[in-house]
Amino acid sequence: MADEHNMRRVTAIRNGTVIDHIPSGQSLKVLELLNIARDTSVPVSLVMNVPSKKMGSKDIVKVEDRELTQTELDRLALVAPDSSIAIIRAYTVAEKLEVNLGKEVRNVVQCTFSNCITQNLREPLPHRLRVTSTDPLTLRCHYCQRPQDLDELIHNLL
């Protein structure tokens, strides 16, 4: 089966987190979102643009020796809302998790509008983006109410 074959492109991990069904080409953003790119202590495997029955093509990320928390994974909804997550313990799937954006994204990203009050990073109140629709994903800043440019937003991670 195509999916099983894809999973074998990189070896199975003993312990850690597998993020599957990431839209093709978005896995680098996923690493960025989860701050994995900056954490050099754990092995990370990345598979890009592999065939998928469900999505045509997809990316997969495997993070070894780290179980990502639900809060961390919820950030994924910004770029990969339909991704599926498995927590692996001793080579078997111990838990399956779903990403959930909720009604508001709090302290994950900064509003993209250059004249928003939250541009001053010394201001202590939380960065808050309201989810105004999920399909397609649209977000608005709680403070300035400007709609957010999703491509730009990814560069504004906190």
Binding site: C116, I117, R122, C141, Y143
Partner: protein, 327 residues
């Protein structure tokens, strides 16, 4: 107790006025009704110290003449007092104080805050940080709801209703925060909007989207004069030179958004011309003496509308009958 717990304890139950969404249509009409009864107090014919012992904090991080002065007048006509931030250049703001900290201080000194800030979203931010109600007197290119209340008061005074009017909003619709707040309120009363502006200064797409979501009848056009004859209200705004790349471009474009007395020869008799002021040359002085000009009354109405808002947000009831008041 952590900061958030502290904020929570202080409570956010007393909401201010940040955008027009903070008011229902019933709220709007009842505040405007209070405003009408307060007219003799605003004119100084009757002294009614409803807000005696209350202090307004005027926090203007950006220059303002009318808004700041009318808040101050409104407070004083009702027996209240005002403290001012003063010149931003000499205040703690230049030392790098955050808005959060400034608000914490003023929140402790006052019962209500009126503010204007160059950054968009500042008023909502301040409301989240404050215990006392915040009145948004303009945040960047965002909202200016107290201006909208006085605009609605002026329209109601002239037409006797806010329902179903045909309103032309003209000039700088992109950066003009007064028209952003006003357009929201008008569509909620079923008004038809004609948005006349140069291409460069069109109403922001997200606002048009919001208006259409309310089921609004909105027409975008570059033609002002061709659209005024059927209008009940023509609301002019100032087009600023600095929005354009060069002065020639400005002169060419801005010329199409000017009104002269001869332009209003064939308009409806009861049509009114409004302007948030200051005007530069978008309304020629020849218009001042026509029956249509309302911008000076509009500016005066800033006092009475803000009096009614201050009373409402401070939970002070305006008496049903005021001596010397209108029936």
């Amino acid at each position: 107790m952590g900061m958030l717990g502290w904020l929570h304890r202080r409570g956010l139950e007393m909401k201010g006025l940040i955008t027009m969404d903070d008011l229902t249509n019933e709220d709007i009409l009842s505040i405007l009704d209070d405003a009408a009864r307060l007219l003799p107090v605003a004119r100084g014919e009757t002294y009614l110290p409803l807000l005696e012992g209350k202090i307004l904090g005027n926090l203007f991080f950006e220059p303002s003449t009318r808004t700041r002065m009318s808040f101050e007048t409104a407070m004083k006509r009702l027996g209240g007092d005002v403290v001012n931030l003063g010149d931003v250049k000499t205040s703690s703001v230049v030392k790098g104080e955050t808005l959060f900290d400034t608000i914490q201080m003023v929140d402790g000194y006052t019962d209500i805050i009126a503010m204007r800030h160059p950054r968009q979203g500042a008023a909502r931010y301040a409301q989240d940080a404050a215990r006392v109600p915040i009145l948004n007197g303009g945040d960047g290119a965002g909202h200016h709801p107290t201006q909208t209340m006085l605009d609605l008061f002026t329209i109601l005074q002239s037409h006797g209703t806010l329902e179903g009017l045909s309103v032309v909003l003209a000039g700088d619709l992109r950066y003009g925060r007064t028209v952003h707040s006003l357009s929201h309120a008008l569509v909620r009363f079923g008004c038809k909007l004609i948005l006349a502006s140069p291409e460069l200064l069109r109403m922001p797409a997200e606002i048009i989207e919001d208006l259409r979501e309310h089921g609004a009848d909105v027409l975008e056009t570059e033609d002002l004069l061709g659209n005024i004859n059927d209008a009940d209200v023509v609301y002019m705004t100032r087009i600023q030179k600095e929005r354009f790349a060069d002065e020639d471009e400005y002169t060419k474009v801005a010329g199409a958004y000017k009104l002269h007395a001869r332009d209003v020869a064939n308009v409806k008799a009861e049509m009114i011309i409004m302007h948030p002021l200051p005007r530069v040359d978008e309304i020629h002085p020849s218009v001042d003496s026509t029956r249509h000009a309302r911008y000076f009354e509009q500016a005066f109405n800033g006092v009475v509308a803000r009096m009614a808002l201050l009373c409402r947000l401070l939970n002070i009831e305006v008496p049903a009958e005021i001596q010397g008041g209108e029936a």
